[in-house]
């Protein structure tokens, strides 16, 4: 009973259960069609003509494909915690950062290149700078002008892709250079995006460990007035959360762009803001701000990717997939809804008293 209570209050319960459910569906499906039931978990080495020997398997694919959402989820978690709002511009900001980077790498007006016009690092820094700029813009609107986060970030949500197109002279800029393509491809046998995500996670962990950022952001998100009396500058902290969210969006943009070795303004990061927000919710974080759980958000991100991959494996077309995702979202949101929780509590309390009487 004690262990059960401990499990019930475990903050990662929801994301982990969701992830296990997805795996279970895979196992059952594989068994049903006569495959090895554990083929979901199989990892093997395969030789390819383009990338040499690489890791291969559905799990690897999920972790690889989930990189962008996982990176976005880090920034989104901070934003949700600090401002009780969401940054819906991250998908568009990814695209803008990718465009700005490719414009720098290819040169303005060039639609396709195999040689880099500027060193790779300049392009990468340009992307990060653009992400920081977008984050600062959102942060200023939200923290200093007190605009509702949804409305404030709606501006870049709709404008960023257009600005990206403008930077690329209305072209899809291709940068078919191996040193750039490497970011979206493989480092040895491991997909590079996985490594980049790991670096991002380590980075934010170090920041949370070596600074008081985590406590400050949660404090401001829970009670901004009390935080101010205790000496915190809640505006600056909210601004910082949006700034970081923009930077993480730019990193996700770099990965997404490198995968397709181009800056496709209309498609990079499309709808990913929704996946990022969903990751945060799925991770057991309250979208009302306050306490956050970064590990939950990241597990949430991979769970979403696992759902998507599983749906494809089950033969659901990419057009139909959002319907099933929506069903899953509804279930999660209902489980997290206060009236539903109260209902469960009432029921389990009633059962407990019944047990005592018997």
């Amino acid at each position: 009973m004690k262990i059960w209570n401990k499990i019930k209050s475990w903050p990662l319960l929801l994301p982990v259960v969701a992830l296990i459910l997805v795996m279970a569906v895979n196992i059952i499906h594989d068994a049903a069609v006569g495959d090895n039931p554990l083929s979901f978990f199989m990892i093997s080495l395969r030789d390819t003509t383009t990338n040499g020997t690489i890791l291969f398997g559905r799990i690897i694919d999920i972790i690889n494909r989930g990189s962008e959402v996982a990176i976005l989820a880090i920034g989104m978690t901070l934003v949700v915690s600090a401002s009780a709002g969401t940054d819906i511009s991250v998908g568009s900001v990814m695209s803008l950062c990718a465009s700005f980077m490719c414009m720098n790498l290819a040169g303005y007006g060039v639609s396709s290149t195999t040689t880099l016009a500027k060193p790779l690092i300049v392009g990468l820094l340009a992307a990060v700078l653009m992400g920081a700029l977008c984050g600062a813009f959102n942060g200023t609107l939200v923290s200093h002008l007190s605009i509702q986060p949804m409305v404030a970030t709606l501006i870049l949500y709709s404008a960023a892709r257009a600005i990206g197109l403008l930077l690329c002279n209305d072209l899809i800029v291709y940068v078919r250079n191996p040193s750039f393509a490497f970011i979206g491809a493989f480092t040895g046998p491991i997909p590079t995006p996985i490594l980049i995500t790991v670096v991002c996670i380590i980075l934010i962990s170090v920041v949370l460990k070596k600074t008081a950022l985590g406590m400050y952001i949660q404090s401001v998100g829970i009670n901004a007035k009390a935080s101010r009396i205790a000496g915190l500058n809640s505006r600056r902290l909210r601004f910082l959360a949006y700034l970081l969210c923009g930077v993480f969006a730019s990193l996700a943009g770099i990965v997404a762009s490198s995968r397709i070795t181009s800056a496709d303004s209309n498609n990079i990061g499309l709808y990913l803001e929704m996946d990022a927000i969903l990751s945060v919710a799925l991770g057991g974080n309250s979208l009302g701000g306050g306490k956050f759980n970064l590990a939950g958000s990241i597990i949430g991100a991979y769970t979403i990717q696992a759902i998507t991959t599983t749906l494809y494996a089950l033969g659901v077309s990419s057009i139909q997939a959002p319907v099933y995702k929506a069903i899953i979202v509804i279930i999660i949101v209902v489980i997290e809804a206060p009236p539903f929780k109260a209902f469960i509590r009432k029921h389990s309390a009633a059962r407990a008293t019944k047990g005592v009487k018997a």
Binding site: K210, A212, M215, Q218, N223, A226, R228, I229, N233, K291
Partner: protein, 507 residues
């Protein structure tokens, strides 16, 4: 019912879980009368008003209204309005982006079709007859707060109200606006409307009211004609101390002797904030305990909030050891060695979902800096030390603070500030809503800290408590400092007469 009475509330009871909010309260209002409802915080004023307007259902007693032969049952504010009982609150509850006429008639339409021309004409006529400087078509937000309040009153008048309740209507008005509002109130009185006036401003009560009903701790203290109740009596009835007893009790305070020729540790000159207090001067010596006293809403908290930079400072200077320092926000005050335990624990104090440990180290962490976080072990050591020192009752240092009792939450916030080892600690109502044992603990702690050289400002609604701890008291009335008491003047009687002030001689 009494002759001429339009409203009689008899033996009203209201019970909240664990609290008797009202016990057998009687209240009578006559036509053409302005009747003040007075009492300190928690006396039951708002509860009585809410029972009358149908926000709460009563648990006992009857309400009689003129024109109804049986006791009435009021189930909602809408029903109350239909019976002729309207309320105008301190915060405007109208829609700022609608026109004046729309605000007067919204929610009262009889059908879908609205003849705006006719309604505007009607509204203008009422505004004119009440001498309210607003036009029907004007957007409400373009009017001053006072005029907005008057529009709310005009709406009530047009709904044929017999009983008009004004709940703290003057808190955000300047003197001229108050005068205009009073003129309107007197006009309505002439028309036979009965007005219930809830306010903390004593001067205003004596200026405009005919009768006073005083409540204390949910019970009726009495109903008085204004001419029969001098101010000092009113204050003593609100606070629940008989004057005769009071003059005997002298303070048990310690005498405090400042060291000669040293400037005060902290000094405020002409300090003024955006919270609506008049500029004030203040100082505190090393090792001194002083206090601000005055009725609720007199500006006690606003003064210390200005010193700490919690409200926006508009003018004046704060000096430390004789040198001017700049305090624009709380962190500036903290860096200068000031700590502030805020009055409203829930709003300004606790960070609910964070643990007791995090709540304790928060202020010290902020002072230490963003890039130097306390390790978990350090934080746990600080937390355990203060949990033991202040005897905080919590399951563990990891427990979220919101699941602690009020008194223990207060101790956690106290621990937060003690941990920063301030030179000057401001305690604003540190003992509100906590049990007697803890109260005594806190008083003892205050005296101990002062004897160790800390300067402390102690604010409490309970004068006994302040007499026990403070060696000097700054008295406030109507948002201004009106006096300072030391030594032999520190008695309940003297404090009360200073709070009440003289009957204005210059008028």
């Amino acid at each position: 019912m009494k002759e001429n009475a339009i409203l009689e509330m008899k033996a009203i009871d209201k019970v909240f879980p664990g609290v008797l909010a009202l016990q057998g309260v009687d209240f009578t209002l006559c036509a053409g009368e302005i009747h003040a409802l007075m009492g300190e915080n928690g006396a039951g004023k708002s509860t009585l008003i809410k029972v009358l307007t149908g926000v709460y259902s009563k648990d006992g007693g009857q309400i009689y209204l003129k024109g109804y032969d049986k006791p009435v049952i009021i189930r909602s504010p809408q029903e109350a309005q239909k019976m002729g009982i309207s309320t105008v609150y301190q915060e405007i509850t109208l829609c700022p982006n609608l026109s004046v006429a729309e605000n007067m008639y919204i929610g009262r339409g009889e059908g879908v079709r609205v003849n705006w021309k006719k309604i505007n004409e009607k509204a203008d006529a009422i505004l004119k007859s009440l001498d309210i400087p607003a036009k029907a078509t004007q957007q409400l937000s373009s009017c001053s707060i006072a005029v907005q309040q008057m529009v709310a009153i005009a709406r009530a008048v047009d709904m044929d109200c017999k009983v008009l309740i004004l709940d703290e209507p003057t808190s955000s008005l300047d003197e001229q606006e108050v005068a205009k509002l009073f003129k309107l109130m007197r006009d309505l009185k002439e028309r036979g409307v009965g007005i219930i006036f809830v306010t903390h401003f004593l001067d205003q009560v004596y200026e405009v009211c005919d009768k006073i009903t005083v409540l204390r701790d949910g019970r009726l203290v009495g109903e008085y004609e204004i001419k029969d109740l001098p101010r000092v009596q009113l204050v003593s009835k609100m606070l629940g101390k008989e004057l005769d007893d009071l003059s005997d009790i002298s303070g048990e305070h310690k005498k405090f002797q400042a060291e000669p020729n040293t400037p005060p540790v902290f000094e405020a000159v002409g300090l003024q904030s955006d919270a609506g207090i008049k500029p004030f001067d203040f100082y505190i010596q090393k090792g001194e305990v002083n206090g601000f006293t005055g009725l609720l809403g007199s500006g006690r908290s606003e003064c210390v909030r200005a010193i700490f930079g919690a409200d926006r400072v508009l003018g004046g200077t704060v000096k430390k050891d004789g040198n001017a320092i700049k305090i624009a926000k709380p962190i500036d005050a903290m860096r200068n060695g000031i700590g502030y335990l805020p009055e409203d624990r829930k709003v300004d104090g606790i960070v609910g979902e964070l643990s007791v440990r995090e709540n304790i180290i928060l202020a010290l962490q902020v002072l230490k800096g963003f890039f130097k976080p306390f390790s978990r072990a350090e934080a746990a050591r600080f937390a355990d030390e203060y949990i033991k020192l202040l005897d905080i009752k919590t399951a563990s240092a990891d427990t979220p603070i919101k699941s602690l009792s009020g008194g223990n939450q207060q101790k956690v916030i106290l621990a937060r500030w003690l941990l920063t080892h301030p030179e000057y600690l401001i305690l604003d109502e540190p003992t509100r809503g906590i049990d007697v044992g803890t109260k005594v603990d806190i008083q003892k702690l205050v005296l101990k800290l002062a004897s160790e050289g800390m300067s402390i400002t102690f604010i409490s609604s309970e004068t006994d408590e302040m007499l026990r701890t403070c060696s000097r008291m700054v008295v406030m009335r109507d948002r201004a400092v009106v006096g300072e008491l030391t030594d032999d003047d520190l008695t309940q009687g003297k404090i009360m007469s200073t709070i009440a002030g003289g009957e204005k001689k210059d008028e």
